[in-house]
C-alpha cells in the first residue's frame, strides 16, 4: 500500500465518504483520520450525521461512495477489529449479565467455559462483580451501560466505537463514566471513536475532537486539546484551556442550534 506510513499512525481512516437517505444528504465528502491509541470525539448538533458516520465505520451501514479502512483493510461489513457500545445499551433482556457480557464472544464461536472466564474478568473490571446472574431489568441505567462496555471490551477489538454511550445515564453517573473512560484510554491500547452531543464531555475525554456541521455533514474543524491531557481527572474541569475550548466550540456551533 502506498500510504503505509500514514496508515500506521491511524487505526481508522475515512476518505471522501458520501451517504444519503433518499433525498436527504447525510454525509458529503467526509474525510477524517483516527490516530491509533487515542480517543477521537465526533461532536456536532443533532441530525448532523454523527451516528451515521459511526455506523458506517462499524460496517452496519454502507457508504454510497468513499473508502473506510481499519488498520489498512477496507471495511466491507462488521468485523472483529471493531466493538460497538450502544446508546440504548442493546442488552438481551432475557439473559443474565454474564451471558450478555459474553455474548460478543458467543457470536464469535468461543467455547462456553472460555468466554465466561473472559466475561468474568471484564465484569470485575467494570465494577459489576456479584451481579453476574442478575438480569438487565434488575440493574440501573448506569450499570446496564457497564454491561454494554464490558461486552465490547471482552471481544478485545482494537477499535472501540461508542455511540453516545453516556447519553441515557444520569449526570452523576455520566461524570464517573467520563473519568473511567480516561483511565481506559490510558491503560487499554485501543483506539476510541466517541460520538457525543455534549461539548464538555467531548473536551473532557478527547485527544482529538472532530466537529461536524449539519446536513450534509462535513468536518468543519479538528481540535486537539493537549495542554491538560496529562492532568488528573479532577483538575481538568478547572483548567483554563479546557474552558476556552468549550467556549470556542460553543460559539462555532451555536448558529446551528435552533
Amino acid at each position: 500500500m502506498s500510504n503505509n506510513t500514514n496508515d500506521n499512525n491511524h487505526a481508522v481512516t475515512v476518505r471522501n465518504v458520501y451517504k444519503s437517505y433518499g433525498d436527504v444528504k447525510a454525509l458529503r465528502d467526509l474525510s477524517l483520520d483516527f490516530p491509533r491509541g487515542q480517543l477521537t470525539s465526533i461532536l456536532g448538533p443533532s441530525g448532523c450525521g454523527k451516528t451515521t458516520l459511526l455506523k458506517i465505520i462499524a460496517g452496519l451501514l454502507s457508504a454510497d461512495s468513499g473508502e473506510i479502512t481499519v488498520n489498512g483493510h477496507p471495511v466491507t461489513g462488521p468485523g472483529p477489529d471493531r466493538a460497538f457500545v450502544f446508546q440504548d445499551f442493546a442488552l438481551l433482556p432475557w439473559a443474565s449479565v454474564l451471558r450478555n457480557v459474553a455474548f460478543g464472544l458467543e457470536l464469535h464461536g468461543v467455547s462456553k467455559s472460555e468466554r465466561e472466564a473472559i466475561a468474568e474478568k471484564y465484569i470485575g473490571d467494570v465494577g459489576l462483580k456479584g451481579f453476574e446472574n442478575s438480569h438487565p431489568h434488575e440493574l440501573s441505567g448506569g450499570m446496564r451501560q457497564r454491561v454494554g462496555l464490558a461486552r465490547a471490551l471482552s471481544v478485545d477489538a482494537q477499535v472501540m466505537l461508542m455511540d453516545e454511550p453516556f447519553a441515557a445515564v444520569d449526570e452523576q453517573t455520566r461524570r464517573k463514566f467520563q473519568e473511567d473512560l480516561l483511565n481506559l484510554v490510558k491503560h487499554e491500547n485501543k483506539t476510541f471513536i466517541f460520538v457525543t452531543h455534549s461539548i464538555e464531555e467531548a473536551v473532557y475525554v478527547s485527544d482529538q475532537i472532530a466537529i461536524l456541521l449539519p446536513r450534509p455533514s462535513r468536518v468543519s474543524e479538528i481540535i486537539k486539546p493537549e495542554g491538560f491531557r496529562h492532568k488528573d481527572a479532577e483538575s481538568i474541569r478547572r483548567d483554563p484551556e479546557y474552558l476556552d475550548i468549550v467556549d470556542r466550540i460553543w460559539s462555532s456551533l451555536r448558529t446551528y442550534v435552533e
Binding site: 466493538a83 442493546a90 438487565p136 431489568h137 446496564r144
Partner: protein, 227 residues
C-alpha cells in the same frame, strides 16, 4: 323455569352420570383425535409459517392473505365444501380445527417476529452474528412471549373448531352427546357435555401457561431499555 334450562344441580348430576357410565370417556377419545392432531399441526406449521412470513417479505406477500381469509371466512358456511374435499372422516374435522386455530398462531408469530427489537438485532450484527444467530438468539427469544400468547388463543379456537366439526360434519364424541341429548330433550346432559368441553379447555390452557412460565422463569418481564 323452562324445561330447556335445567338447574345447575341437574346439570352436575347428568355430568356425573355421563362420567360414571363411561359415555364421557368414550366420547372424548373420539373428540380428542381431531383436536389433538389439529392443534399439533396448527402449532408447528403455524409457528413455522409465522416465522417465514415475519422474516421474509416474499413469504408475507404470498401467505399472509391466506390466513387473513381463513380467520375472517364464515367457517360454518364453508364446512360443506370441506366435506366435499375431505369426506366426512377425521380429515375434515382436523381441517376445521386447523382453520380455527392456525390463523391466530400464524398472525401472532409473524407480528412478534417483525417487531423484534431493532437495536438488539443491530448489536448482534455489530458483533458479527450470522443470520442464523440473529434468528435463533435474538428474534425467537424476543418473540416467544407473543408466540405463546398466540398459541393459547389458537388452542382455545381449536377447541371451538373441534366441537363445531362434530356438530356440523358427523356427530361423534362430545358433539354426538350434545346433538343426541338435544334431540331427545335431555337438556341436562347437553349442558353437561358443553360444560365438560369448557372445563377441559380451561385445564389445558392452564397447563400451557404453566409451561410458558416454566420456560421463561419470569425473565421476560421488564425490558432492557427504559421506554
Amino acid at each position: 323455569m323452562s324445561y330447556a334450562f335445567p338447574t345447575f344441580i341437574e346439570t352436575i348430576a347428568a355430568f356425573w352420570v355421563l362420567l360414571m357410565d363411561g359415555t364421557m370417556f368414550v366420547a372424548y377419545v373420539e373428540t380428542l383425535k381431531p383436536l389433538v392432531v389439529g392443534v399439533l399441526i396448527s402449532a408447528f406449521v403455524g409457528v413455522g409459517i409465522g416465522l417465514a412470513t415475519g422474516l421474509s417479505r416474499k413469504f408475507d406477500w404470498l401467505l399472509s392473505p391466506v390466513f387473513v381469509v381463513m380467520q375472517t371466512a364464515p367457517l360454518a358456511a364453508l364446512i360443506p365444501l370441506l366435506v366435499m374435499i375431505y369426506g366426512i372422516g377425521l380429515a375434515s374435522k382436523v381441517a376445521v380445527v386447523c382453520i380455527m386455530a392456525m390463523p391466530v398462531i400464524v398472525l401472532n408469530t409473524s407480528g412478534a417476529v417483525r417487531n423484534a427489537p431493532v437495536s438488539i438485532i443491530e448489536m448482534a450484527r455489530a458483533f458479527q452474528g450470522t443470520k442464523r444467530d440473529v434468528i435463533f438468539k435474538i428474534i425467537l427469544p424476543a418473540a416467544s412471549p407473543i408466540i405463546f400468547a398466540g398459541l393459547r388463543l389458537g388452542v382455545s379456537a381449536g377447541f371451538i373448531g373441534a366441537i363445531l366439526a362434530e356438530l356440523k360434519i358427523t356427530p361423534t364424541g362430545v358433539g354426538d352427546i350434545i346433538t343426541y341429548s338435544r334431540s331427545i330433550a335431555d337438556y341436562p346432559s347437553m349442558y353437561a357435555a358443553i360444560m365438560s368441553i369448557i372445563l377441559l379447555a380451561v385445564i389445558f390452557l392452564n397447563v400451557l401457561e404453566r409451561i410458558e412460565t416454566f420456560l421463561f422463569k419470569g425473565r421476560m418481564r421488564g425490558y432492557a431499555s427504559e421506554e
